[in-house]
């Protein structure tokens, strides 16, 4: 059997087209690999029977020359996307046995493109976390930890998705990004993670964390794969009122786009205290790569950057406190026996949700409460506008913004667990683009002294994913690995 471990989606498509191997062979390879790597805990639910069934259909289609864009490509589906007839948990005990009878738009689009579902990937509970340590189904391990003989976190919340792609358990996976949940784990696992513009991917059937921020996106090995998967995921969806009607380009056109003459902004506010020195070095390298490709580098200012994290940690929990109110044990999901209604709510939600989720529900409830609303939530909305304005102003001067993705590399499981603020700081460089709804990608750009990966982030103008991908490709070509 072939070794498909380092295969990219684009080369797999080529291999399938050239009949070098079948989708069934690919799928069976990954099924075996997943079973061998159960200790990484990447999947909450595996769907191997379904995968084999889908692979056979794909092989038939390939045979009949009716190939769809992702025909026969085995992927992991973050367990935040509702999948018809397949348990969907959002990493929570409260949905431990929840089986949707409907399909999310994003997953449906992928199946319609010929992608194959290997299973539902592990994640932080309700996408709340930056280390995949809040899942009811246990921690996910970063496969790169073995390089340094440590148990490293894969990042979060799409930790299972990132770890699975990084360890070669699937060719690509879906993630969702609310404040960095695609980009940060991609960076920690040495992968490409793309958060598209808010509204590009439908949120229908994607379990909500913070509705005004949640956005689906792909986690892949290469920029080209990212474009391929993104193409299959996006659509205008009338079932999501925030879905964008903006025309959808051919994202593979990024290959035709030259970065020469483009203006790359370097925001001085991202030079934060505590930025890892290796990361700083890679950032400098990134700047020089773009320079040598003929891009113009200019320093820009995003003055409200320092307010982004607190703003995010008001808005996201506020929305979450309402979004998670439906998990009450009345209609579906976990319900604890109780004496009366209040007791039912208390026990069901008290035992059904984990600690971090409860913390955020409490924060969200607090910031929306009478007497605190103006000081917290309303003020946060105002600051969010200022942050968006910062980007808008900067994009008058530049085409793209280059920053590190995270202030540090992957850390050990168990680290940063005592102080939630320390954990929240992981998102400091990713939340501003989330608050502004902008497309952003994390691309592997180098390593620290321990050979752990470091990602750089590129932030683009609204709906300009193509430029973001093109700039990502420049990094891929220049980084020297």
């Amino acid at each position: 059997m072939n070794d498909f471990e380092n295969l990219s989606i684009s080369s797999a498509i080529e291999g399938l087209a050239n009949k070098n191997f079948t989708s069934l062979e690919l799928t069976e390879f990954f099924i075996k690999k997943i079973e061998k790597n159960k200790d990484l805990n990447c999947f909450i639910t595996s769907t191997f029977d379904k995968a084999i069934e889908m692979a056979k259909i794909s092989d038939q289609k390939i045979k009949e020359n009716e190939t769809r864009p992702l025909e026969g490509i085995p992927i992991g589906m973050k367990d935040l996307f509702c999948t018809n007839g397949v348990r969907t948990t959002a990493g929570s005990k409260i949905l431990e046995n929840f089986v949707p009878f409907y399909e999310s738009t994003v997953s449906n689009n992928l199946w319609n493109s010929g992608a194959i579902m290997l299973g539902k990937t592990n994640m932080d509970e309700f996408a709340m976390g930056s280390a995949n340590t809040t899942s009811f189904f246990g921690n996910v391990k970063n496969p790169l930890g073995s390089k340094v003989n440590k148990e490293l976190v894969p990042g979060g919340s799409s930790g299972g998705s990132a770890s699975a792609v990084s360890s070669g358990l699937c060719l690509g996976s879906t993630g969702s990004d609310t404040g960095g949940s695609i980009r940060q784990p991609a960076s920690f696992c040495g992968l490409v993670g793309l958060k598209p513009t808010y509204g590009r991917c439908s949120r229908f059937g994607m379990i909500a964390f913070a509705s005004s921020l949640d956005q689906a996106g792909p986690i892949t090995k290469t920029v080209e794969d990212s474009a391929l998967m993104l193409q299959a995921m996006v659509s205008f969806d009338k079932r999501d009122s925030t879905s964008s009607r903006q025309s959808i380009p051919d994202f593979s056109d990024f290959k035709k786009l030259s970065i020469k003459g483009k203006r790359i902004g370097i925001p001085k506010e991202y030079m934060i205290d505590g930025l890892n020195s290796d990361i700083k070095k890679i950032w400098d390298s990134g700047i020089s790569w773009f320079k040598s490709e003929g891009a113009e580098i200019l320093e820009i200012s995003l003055p409200h950057t320092k307010s982004a994290l607190p703003t995010y940690y008001i808005i996201a929990p506020a929305e979450a406190s309402a979004n998670l109110a439906r998990y009450d044990g009345i209609r579906y999901g976990f319900r604890h026996n109780a004496d009366d209604l209040n007791d039912l709510y208390e026990k069901t939600r008290g035992l059904g949700f984990g600690k971090e989720v409860k913390r955020r529900i409490m924060i969200g409830t607090y910031v929306l409460s009478a007497g605190y609303y103006d000081a917290y939530y309303l003020k946060a909305l105002k600051v969010r506008k200022l942050i968006s304005q910062d980007f808008e102003d900067s994009f008058q001067k530049c085409d793209l913004i280059l920053t590190p993705t995270t202030p540090n590399v992957a850390f050990s499981i168990g680290e940063k667990q005592t102080n939630p603020i320390e954990m929240y700081l992981n998102d400091v460089l990713t939340v501003p683009a989330s608050l502004a709804g902008l497309p952003a990608i994390s691309v592997p750009s180098g390593f620290n002294s321990e050979k752990l990966p470091i990602g750089l982030q590129l932030i683009g103008k609204p709906f300009d994913e193509i430029s973001v991908l093109a700039a990502g490709a420049v990094i891929e070509e220049s980084r020297g690995f």
């Binding site: 996307f81 509702c82 969907t88 959002a90 949905l95 929840f98 949707p100 409907y102 999310s104 949120r203 229908f204 059937g205 994607m206 379990i207 909500a208 913070a210 509705s211 005004s212 009338k238 079932r239 999501d240 009122s241 925030t242 506020a318 929305e319 406190s321 309402a322 998670l324 109110a325 439906r326 009450d328 009345i330 209609r331 579906y332 209604l341 709510y345 409830t365 929306l368 409460s369 009478a370 609303y373 939530y377």
Partner: protein
């Protein structure tokens, strides 16, 4: 006259404001395509949003938006170009999302007014706002000893909450306000106004004060679902408040429930216990934008509303204000009237509609529109009276039987042998018989006992078995007695 409550010490004025919840007559719900059909099996009309499934998202029903705009226009109110949907957060088993999507700070309709008529005087009642919101489901506690059940068919149905200014000052004004509002909603078709089904219900805010004082503390009576109950609830609540204040105590701001069996209000929860709903803009829904074009095109769709119709009827048909009000209250009645009055005397037509027709409809428990009564059915009967073929009295006596028959009026009265006696010589014959049978009375009459005239008329009618044309009998009798 001002409505006052006489306490032990003082006279008290009542200040009332109403929040009317009107369910929009729409085939599907406010944010889902589920049907709103009433009376279906429990939980059969439920989409993902209506039962709060994970990943479900609301999508606005444009038809409901149009109905809210139409209603706003008919309330002479400002239509907001931009309004915002908010989440109103609270836990209850029949609230599947854990929040109700409503409009808090930025409703779709702003200030307006409607006119009501009290004792012949027009009073303008301010409308504070109208906003759109989802209805909740229904909890069923009487199905089982141990468990409660939930029916989500109503969950997500579109409601308009119409809030009045505290401009109402008596139970009768509150009743007239609700009647007028219901009439308008029915005219434009945005709500069927059915209070029994709960499609129209009111929260009533009641406070009392002495003349010249500023507003007192109010209590809100929730979910009153008939006009009679609204009046009873206000009467009880206002007296309760007067007693409390006159006993030197203070009114506690609270939510109360009306018990129609005991005809009293009871405390539900006080302000301290009241929910903090933590309203915030629903991030699943962009701001609702209403274009000028939409407002203009909906304005063109507005039918003639009760007040305009009333003015026109008073002008065109010379109706009294009272009669016109009664006729236009229901659009079906007004349309019926307009068809019936063509070529006929408006006063006679009005009397027949508000008299016999209304009481007949009440008996068969239908409204004029769905009763199937053709205006010509009534018209042909009226025509026979005017043509003096039958008397008014005869017509009234046989009205119900006539309505049940399939015959037109002429055929019917012929079959019944009811044709009026209008032959002069026949009537003279009877008069002469009556006069010659009663010579003493004729003498008495001629000596000034005028009242005996009625006696002679009665005798003539009796002998003719009621068929004699009363007008003619009158005329001919006067003539004979003068001879």
């Amino acid at each position: 006259m001002t409505y006052l409550i006489e306490g032990k010490k003082d006279s008290w004025q009542v200040v009332l404001g109403l929040e009317v919840h009107a369910q929009i007559s729409s085939k599907s719900k406010l944010f889902s395509v589920a049907s709103t059909n009433w009376g279906s099996d429990p939980n059969t009309q439920v989409e993902l949003v209506d039962c709060g499934m994970p990943g479900a998202l609301p999508v606005i029903n444009e038809y409901c938006v149009d109905q809210a705009v139409l209603t706003g226009l008919s309330l002479n109110a400002e239509i907001k170009k931009m309004s915002i949907f908010d989440r109103k957060n609270y836990f209850y088993p029949d609230l599947p999302q854990g929040y109700q999507i409503s409009q808090f700070e930025h409703p779709i309709v702003g200030k307006g007014h409607i006119n009501i008529e009290i004792e012949g005087k027009v009073k303008k009642i301010g409308i504070t706002r109208l906003h759109l919101e989802q209805d909740a489901g229904k909890s069923l506690h009487d199905q089982d000893i141990k468990n409660s059940y939930i029916d989500l068919n109503r969950s997500g149905c579109a409601l308009m909450e119409i809030v009045s200014e505290p401009d109402l000052s008596s139970p009768i004004e509150a009743a007239e306000y609700v009647k007028k509002l219901r009439s308008i909603l029915r005219y434009i078709g945005s709500c069927d106004g059915n209070m029994e089904k709960g499609n129209l219900r009111a929260d009533v805010n009641v406070s009392v004060k002495r003349e010249g004082e500023k507003l007192g503390t109010r209590c809100e009576i929730k979910n009153v679902n008939s006009i009679k109950f609204i009046q009873q609830a206000i009467e009880f609540e206002a007296k309760r408040q007067v007693n409390i204040i006159e006993n030197g105590e203070k009114i506690i701001q609270e939510t109360r429930l009306f018990d129609p069996n005991k005809c009293e209000t009871r405390s539900m929860r006080s302000k301290e216990e009241s929910h903090d709903y933590r309203y915030f803009p629903d991030p699943d829904l962009p701001p609702l934008i209403i274009s000028d074009e939409k407002v203009i095109s909906l304005k063109e769709k507005l039918p003639e509303l009760p007040d305009e119709k009333k003015d026109r009827f008073m002008r065109e048909f010379n109706l009294s204000s009272y009669d016109a009000e009664v006729i236009v209250n229901d659009q079906g009645t007004a349309n019926f009237f307009e068809k019936l009055v063509k070529g006929r005397d408006s006063k006679v037509v009005t009397n027949w509609i508000t008299g016999e027709v209304f009481s007949y409809l009440k008996k068969i428990n239908k409204d004029i529109k769905n009763s199937g009564i053709a205006p010509e059915k009534i018209g042909s009967l009226i025509d026979l009276i005017v043509d003096e073929k039958i008397s008014n009295r005869q017509a009234k006596e046989v009205f119900e039987e006539y309505m049940k028959s399939m015959d037109d009026a002429t055929t019917f009265i012929e079959k019944k042998g009811l044709v009026q006696l209008s032959d002069q010589s026949e009537i003279y014959k009877i008069i002469d018989q009556v006069l010659s049978d009663n010579p003493k009375m004729v003498d008495d009459y001629k000596n000034g006992k005028d009242k005996l005239f009625g006696f002679f008329i009665g005798q003539v009618m009796k002998i003719s078995k009621g068929k004699a044309n009363p007008k003619l009998v009158n005329e001919l009798l006067v003539k004979r007695l003068k001879e």
